[in-house]
């Protein structure tokens, strides 16, 4: 009896992936994204740039949309357009924040709104509503070979780059003035990180769409912060959380016939809320620690 229940559960979890190749592809894409986007999210959080990540994700949209306008739903054109637009937004936002009276959050919100409006407008002039949904929410269930190769390449490149940039990047977050006083790595770390951020957002854009791609960066990172105190385990845990969240999101959306991108982000959100509540530095722990030690 118990055995058959386990078998049934196993079939629910494994079945969709063994049965349908589009589910296998979606899973492979999500796991690849989780490997690189989640650690990027940890650095984004530690640099207090989560909001900027969101703005940049939207900043990608007009570029991808121009690619779409030019070549239809072409992987190459939309990727290229997205990367160019993302780099432009990163540079422009930095310039505006440094040289005007506006604080960074306001200029970010301005960029974000303009980009979203412009992107939606461009896609609507030529495409159907289906295409618009594709751009806004991604097509994780329709990843073709080329898209999978692109995601895998971006993940591999990101992980290799993070391995090289790790120490300068940690120092750039922790004590930028010190890094500048001992080496010339500071700009390499800063702009290298922004570049990696752009390509990861473009990868996320193909799978989850422009509105949801930041979810895979921000939510696992925020969740892992509640469990561990040091950055190295935080990077690993955030990847694990991203994988669990995106795989369960895929399964739930399959069984309940829900849109995949939002379901994945909601699963990540549930993991975040659980961590916020039950994590070692979460709300319950803080409340119950009213009792104190002697020393």
């Amino acid at each position: 009896m118990i055995e058959s229940a386990w078998l049934g559960l196993g079939a629910l979890v494994v079945g969709p992936f063994t049965e349908f190749s589009f589910m296998q592809r979606a899973l492979a894409g999500c796991l690849a994204l989780s490997l690189s986007a989640a650690p990027m999210g940890v650095f984004l959080m530690l640099r207090r740039m989560s909001l900027m990540g969101d703005a940049m994700a939207h900043g990608i949209l007009p570029g991808a949309a121009l690619g779409y306008l030019y070549a239809g739903l072409s992987l190459g054109a939309m990727t290229l357009g997205g990367i160019v637009a993302g780099v432009l937004v990163a540079v422009a936002a930095g310039l505006v924040a440094r040289s005007t009276v506006l604080k960074e959050d306001t200029s970010m919100a301005a960029f974000y709104l303009l980009s979203l409006a412009l992107g939606v407008l461009i896609v609507s002039t030529r495409g159907s509503n289906v295409d618009l949904l594709h751009v806004l929410f991604g097509t994780v269930l329709a990843l073709n070979d080329d898209a999978l190769i692109l995601l895998g390449a971006i993940t591999s490149f990101t992980l290799l780059s993070l391995a090289v940039l790790y120490r300068p990047l940690v120092m750039e977050c922790l004590d930028p003035a010190f890094l500048r006083s001992v080496s010339r790595w500071s700009p390499v770390a800063h702009y290298g990180f922004l570049g990696l951020l752009v390509i990861n957002l473009v990868a996320g854009f193909h799978a989850l769409g422009t509105l949801m791609s930041v979810g895979l960066l921000v939510l696992p990172a925020a969740a892992s912060r509640f469990w561990v105190r040091e950055i190295t385990p935080m990077l690993l845990l955030s990847s694990a959380i991203a994988m669990v969240g995106s795989a369960s999101g895929l399964l739930i959306s399959y069984h309940a016939d829900l849109p995949t991108g939002p379901t994945i982000v909601l699963c990540l959100g549930v993991l975040y809320l659980l961590s916020l509540t039950f994590g070692r530095q979460g709300l319950l722990q803080l409340r119950s620690s009213r009792h104190h030690l002697k020393a």
Partner: protein, 257 residues
């Protein structure tokens, strides 16, 4: 070997307004120097210049190029909520050995642990940065500075926000560096501390007031003069045409070391 450090008619400032005006002096290798002066006297600016972070508007620093200089700013811009252990933070001081890619080997790890022991943080190495008090954090910065293994150490108000006990223990650390032959230059405000523990004092107030032993420099007369010099810069100031070496030419103000 450590070279003498000479400051040759140096003017440092921001946007052409001098914060330190025509300063000339020579600091022998291995000296323990306290830089004193009222707020706005240009003490921090002088240290930034020595650290190579600010180019002189005029004049030059000599003897710095051949030695490693370590600089501890007044308010370290460290993000103290960053999730990292004290040991790993302090290990940043070994950058000149490990660079961006190298790992810490066993002996380097031990040197980090030793440095933490010297500043009295031996039991804190696995703790994260956010659990340290202000004084403990300052001790950690001293440990990091120590690991940089520089021959010239520049400290800008290292005791600004720490209690007496921490100050006296960290002063002992400074003296240890001095005994090891390093040139130590620290901006300080506590005249009594300077009298007791320092060989040389430099009193400035946008220009040199006096330079020599603390007893000769920190006289009531000199301190009064330092206080009297005008702080703010004048937006419409005309170009400076002071003759070069004006201050080193005035022996009454300058005590050769």
């Amino acid at each position: 070997m450590v070279a003498a450090l000479s400051i040759d008619n140096v003017t440092l400032g921001y946007e052409q307004h001098p914060a330190v005006h025509h300063l000339s002096l020579r600091i022998e290798p291995g000296s323990l120097v306290a830089v004193m002066g009222p707020n706005g006297a240009g003490k921090s600016t002088l240290l930034k210049g020595l650290a190579g972070l600010l180019k002189p508007l005029e004049g030059q620093f000599d003897g710095l190029a051949r030695q490693r200089v370590a600089y501890m700013p007044q308010l370290a811009q460290v993000d103290r909520s960053f999730p990292i252990s004290v040991l790993n933070m302090v290990a940043m001081g070994l950058w000149h050995e490990v660079g961006a890619l190298g790992g810490l080997n066993k002996s380097q790890r031990h040197r980090c642990i030793d440095a933490l022991g010297v500043v009295g943080l031996g039991d804190f190495r696995e703790r994260t940065l956010d659990t340290l008090s202000g004084g403990q954090f300052q001790r950690a910065l001293f440990a990091r500075l120590m690991l940089q293994d520089a021959s010239v150490l520049l400290l800008d108000e290292p005791f600004a926000a720490v209690d007496e006990r921490t100050t006296s223990e960290l002063t002992a650390v400074l003296q240890g560096w001095h005994r090891a032959g390093k040139t130590v230059i620290a901006v300080l405000h506590d005249a009594e501390l300077v009298h007791r523990h320092f060989e040389h004092a430099l009193l400035i107030a946008r220009e040199m007031i006096a330079w020599g032993s603390p007893a000769d420099v920190l006289t009531p007369n000199n301190l009064l003069r330092a206080r009297g010099l005008h702080e703010a810069f004048d937006d419409k100031a005309s170009l400076c045409d002071a003759p070069q070496h004006v201050h080193s030419a005035a022996p009454a103000e300058t005590v050769a070391s």
